[in-house]
């Protein structure tokens, strides 16, 4: 019953779930009411699962998640276990963890939350007659069971959806990191010349990372010239300019020189209007021109042999 700590990274914990239970007013009484339904749920489980999957198979959108016969069998077994868990009366930590696990599993296979939520709707449609047509329950008990079932399903949904969102957030933050790395490559383009095209805005977090990589590469390749290309920088503000100047100063301390390339008209206008002084720094409109300056500095001459 008790699952491993594999989901320990999940934002919500068991304590906050207890709070959530209080919020939806899920009491011990509700647990007891659900337990009353349990023997009937056990009897009804096989029929329920068959009906549910029959319904799911009617729609191509849901059918594609059901897989082959073997997979379908496994899903049905898991569904049956969950169906019986719902009325077990035990909604402790084991229950909590298995709900989160289900949420993460659904996110991983790409099942849209829409389908997850709607399946509950069909679930209720199957269950309501089971509650109200049961001769053992008077109306008050039936109402109580209905309400308790509604609450526990709401709690389940919240857990699974939060786990979904958390899993998606993790994917996003990992991708953001990757994009950050990819967006500031530092490459050696000639012996003694490295180039670093900046794509996007240069904020302080990114500057730090960019500066480190640029400096490391300059030292590794023993390059006296570094071209920083800002063609891909949409707009420049005082903060971005300051980050750029800091980077240039750090490069200078190493004993290398920066040439800023890709200074477009709009960037040139902004720099002057903002009063940012780059007069001590060599700037060029294109990287090609910047490379020419770099080669010149290194006393390297490139000749067109066809014209000789």
């Amino acid at each position: 019953m008790n699952h491993s700590h594999s989901n320990s990274k999940y934002i919500s914990n068991f304590n906050s779930w207890a709070e959530q239970k209080r919020f939806v007013n899920f009491t011990d009484e509700d647990a007891a009411l659900l337990q009353k339904l349990h023997p009937f749920a056990v009897d009804y489980a096989d029929v329920f699962v068959e009906k549910l999957y029959e319904h799911l198979q009617k729609f191509p959108d849901t059918k594609r998640f059901l897989g082959d016969e073997k997979m379908l069998m496994r899903l049905k077994l898991a569904q049956k276990a969950y169906f019986m868990d719902l009325t077990s009366g035990d909604y402790g930590e084991g229950y909590f963890k298995s709900r989160i696990k289900v949420g993460i599993a659904h996110q991983r296979i790409g099942l849209p939350p829409r389908i997850y939520m709607s399946t509950y709707c069909y679930y209720m449609q199957l269950m309501i007659p089971q509650i109200y047509s049961n001769p053992t329950f008077d109306v008050e008990t039936a109402n109580g069971i209905f309400s308790a079932l509604h609450k526990i399903i709401n709690l389940d949904q919240e857990l699974a959806i939060s786990a979904y969102i958390h899993a998606t957030d993790e994917v996003i933050s990992r991708q953001t990191e990757e994009i950050l790395e990819m967006s500031t490559p530092v490459i050696q383009i000639w012996e003694g010349v490295v180039a670093a095209p900046i794509i996007g805005m240069l904020d302080s977090g990114r500057t730090q990372q960019f500066m480190e990589r640029l400096l490391e590469t300059i030292v590794q390749t023993n390059s006296p010239v570094a071209l920083i290309d800002i063609t891909g920088v949409p707009q420049i503000d005082t903060a971005t300019a300051q980050h750029l100047i800091d980077t240039i100063n750090a490069v200078k301390l190493l004993g290398s020189q920066v040439i800023i390339t890709g200074v477009r008209p709009v960037i040139a206008q902004t720099l002057v209007h903002l009063g940012i002084d780059l007069s001590g720094i060599i700037t060029r409109p294109t990287m090609a021109l910047g490379l020419k300056v770099a080669l010149d500095k290194l006393s390297i001459k490139v000749v067109d042999v066809s014209k000789e």
Binding site: I218, P224, K252, G255
Partner: protein, 123 residues
Amino acid sequence: MDGENSLSVIKLKNILLVTVPDDPGDDIIHELQTKVLHAIEKYQSKGLILDISSVNILDSFFARTISETTQMVALMGGKTVIAGMQPSVAITATELGLHLGKAISTLDVDRALDIFTDNFKLV
């Protein structure tokens, strides 16, 4: 027993080369300045190369001493070149706003020597 732990100022033709140790204390930094200036007077050197490639931490005192020494060396007719600063040191120095004054930096000692032999345009 002084001299045991101290710096050596190496004369290479008309240039002086000083390798700054790993974690130079304030006294070593102070000694560096005095020794260098006396050596310049003695050998009439036209330049000084400070190899700081093994320095991991650059504090404000060290930075100021480099800056001042550069000015003093200039007054005595010489040029100062800082060689081989580590990236992490450069980043910290930039963050702290430390300046090395008029000292020129180069990637390594080879390139520093190039500056004095005029093989290198990048100054």
